[in-house]
């Protein structure tokens, strides 16, 4: 059953995977097992995306399916789910930019790949990034931006982190819209990632899990 379940989710069969979720819950199956299978399904989605078979529509839609599965499973869970996290990442869209589609996909793909993600949202002022890096003691920061004003906002954010003495133990990745490796150099970040799976690969590499 669990192999079918993983495939149904990976193939984005909405009605079937939700029906099977209900069936498994009705059969009193351990809800943690269902969540584990959905995590495996998302892994397949991620690798299909990285392999060029899936694109943004499939990623977004798989997120929708996962949300619905979680809602169905939640009432059956005893106590809070404490999944072991492999690392911490703070992400946010820099000041002056309110784009969140890419940001939220990165959030969700990092999360399903085992990271504890602190998503600061959009139009994030520099001070908020600094506070989050201090509070979470993260070693990875992801800066998102879609338009050209993000170039300077990213540069200023990185410079401020340097001034605060937080840069040394911090790996910074950038991504989104008009970002590229030229902007990465300009902003003095460590890496540019072209999509959400690149963010996952970079984060895994930086925590030594790749």
């Amino acid at each position: 059953m669990s192999g079918d379940y993983v495939n149904l989710l990976a193939d984005l069969k909405e009605d079937e995977v939700l029906a099977l979720t209900k069936k498994r819950l009705d059969a009193k199956e351990d809800p943690m097992k269902i969540l584990e299978d959905s995590r495996k399904g998302m892994e397949v989605v991620g690798s299909r995306f990285a392999g060029g078979e899936y694109f943004l529509p499939e990623l977004v839609f798989s997120g929708e399916l996962l949300k619905q599965i979680n809602e169905l499973v939640k009432p059956h869970l005893k106590g809070a789910v404490t999944q072991k996290k492999i690392g911490k990442v703070v992400i946010g869209t820099v000041a002056g930019d309110i784009h969140d589609i890419g940001l939220n996909i990165v959030d969700f793909m990092l999360d399903v790949n085992g990271f504890e993600v602190t998503n600061l949202g959009v139009d994030v002022p520099i001070e908020k990034f600094i506070k989050a890096v201090k509070d979470t003691k993260t070693t990875i920061l992801g800066l998102s931006g879609f338009l050209t004003p993000a170039f300077d906002a990213m540069k200023e954010t990185v410079e401020a982190l340097e001034k605060e003495g937080l840069r040394k133990n911090l790996k910074i990745m950038i991504g989104g819209g008009q970002m590229d490796d030229d902007v990465r150099k300009y902003a003095k970040a460590d890496a540019y990632g072209k999509d959400a799976m690149a963010a996952v690969a970079l984060s895994k590499k930086w925590i030594g899990a790749a």
Binding site: P57, G96, P149, Q178, V183, Y186
Partner: protein
């Protein structure tokens, strides 16, 4: 005797529009020399569109809010202080020797504020004052279960659903019964005027229109400044690919993506309706303009958004139909490809009638674009915003040289930016012009 419009081929219609562009009705140039310059520039563009060989590669710089920073102002300054617009624009057109110039692409921020426009945020209105561009607020302005409303009566959907959701002042429209009956309209309008909520709305429209008029006056002055310096206007009309209309404006990216899986038929049916409406409006705008060009910013058909298979199903068929519709009316669609198009996508778009459109690339590999589209259409681009921000004038000149060497042979190339630009070293923008004039001469 001149042939009737209805009997002309699309090429003949386009020639009529080119004639109007070359000899703009009602325009009196300050001197014969300026008129000559205007015609030389317009001819350069026209030859590039037709994929013929002009005297040199035409240059087009869509500079957006760079115009403010180049003059020592901020974007917010130009949005709110009309007195700064003309000096900033004058400085820009005097400094950069390109082949077209319209007026700065500023929207009437004060009028939008009065009417509580919700689809944009800008410096001073939802974004920090120092922000250098406005941002679009993407939301599901049409709900997933409202496709039928749109399909059955898109005007009514716009009046009672879309407008009140996107303009706060128009909220009273959401509570009105449908306006679709052919009779009783005067009575309905009287009743509205008696209603205090609509009285408030009408007052707001009046007040906003006063601000809009001031804004338009300044934009008109800028357009005149461009003409007086011999710059042909470029932007005649504007339209979006039908899928982008849904994914940007109506359902948002998330909403449209869900619909691709859950209700593809409704989505496709809606795209057909949008195609016809967009064609009508783009042609009407171009008819009112001096320029034959229809500007088409594109977003969600690019490599980073959808697969080629999805592009072929959801994006291209209605976009193609829309492009052919405006081409058939003699307009020249100038399509800006945000992000990049890969080989498969370039092959798909290469099937339009020869020399009927211009593809302005942001990050697409220009060598590949020339190889695949070289026999099909004029291409333009692609000095990127990142290059303008982060590189030196020497680098930019070298890159422009590469672009000209790669894209200009045989004609059909316009030297242009990959996107708008807000802030950069003006010397980098100047380097484009210098390199273009130096390396872009055809022998």
């Amino acid at each position: 005797m001149a042939r009737e419009w209805s009997e002309m081929t699309w090429q003949e219609r386009r020639e009529e529009r080119f004639k109007k562009w070359l000899n703009p009705p009602g325009v009196k140039f300050p001197s014969p020399a300026i008129e000559k310059t205007y015609k030389e520039r317009a001819t350069r563009m026209i030859k590039a569109f037709r994929m013929e060989i002009p005297d040199c590669v035409p240059i087009h710089l869509a500079a957006s809010s760079f115009v403010a920073y180049n003059a020592g102002y901020t974007y917010k300054d130009l949005l709110y202080d009309y007195s700064k617009v003309v000096p900033a624009w004058t400085k820009f057109v005097d400094e950069f020797d390109q082949d077209t110039a319209d007026a700065p692409g500023l929207f009437p921020a004060r009028a939008y504020e009065i009417l509580d426009y919700k689809v944009n945020k800008w410096p001073g209105h939802g974004l920090p004052d120092r922000s250098t561009l406005h941002n679009f607020v993407e939301k599901e302005y049409m709900n997933a279960d409202e496709y039928d409303l749109f399909i059955n009566d898109s005007f009514d959907f716009g009046l009672r659903h879309f407008t009140p959701r996107t303009w706060g002042a128009f909220e009273p429209l959401a509570d009105m019964p449908s306006f679709s009956d052919f009779q009783g309209i005067p009575e309905r309008l009287m009743m509205m005027c008696q209603d205090p909520r609509f009285q408030k709305l009408f007052k707001a429209i009046w007040k906003a229109s006063q601000e809009n008029a001031k804004h338009q006056k300044v934009m008109g002055e800028c357009a005149q400044i461009s003409l007086d310096r011999g710059f042909p206007p470029l932007m005649g009309g504007i339209m979006l690919a039908p899928f982008d209309t849904v994914a940007d404006l109506l359902r948002g990216t998330r909403g449209s993506v869900k619909d691709m899986f859950r209700q593809p038929e409704k989505l496709l049916e809606t795209l057909e309706i949008i195609t016809e409406r967009s064609r009508e409006s783009a042609v009407a705008m171009t008819n009112m303009s001096r320029s034959p060009v229809v500007f088409v910013p594109t977003h969600k058909g690019a490599d980073a958004f959808m697969s080629v298979k999805q592009f072929e199903k959801f994006y291209w068929p209605t976009f193609r139909k829309l492009l052919l519709g405006v081409i058939n009316e003699g307009c020249v669609p100038m399509i800006v490809i945000d992000g990049s198009y890969n080989e498969d996508r370039l092959k798909i778009i290469s099937e339009l009638p020869k020399s009927s459109v211009v593809w302005n690339m942001e990050k697409t590999d220009m060598a590949m674009a020339k190889k695949i589209l070289g026999d099909s259409a004029c291409i333009a681009g692609n000095v990127t915003a990142a290059q303008l921000y982060t590189k030196t004038p020497e680098f930019i000149k070298e890159y422009v040289r590469y672009l000209i060497d790669t894209c200009a042979p045989g004609g059909g190339y316009i030297l242009a930016l990959g996107s708008g630009i807000d802030k950069c070293d003006p010397a980098n923008l100047q380097a484009i012009v210098e390199a273009g004039r130096e390396y872009g001469v055809y022998n």
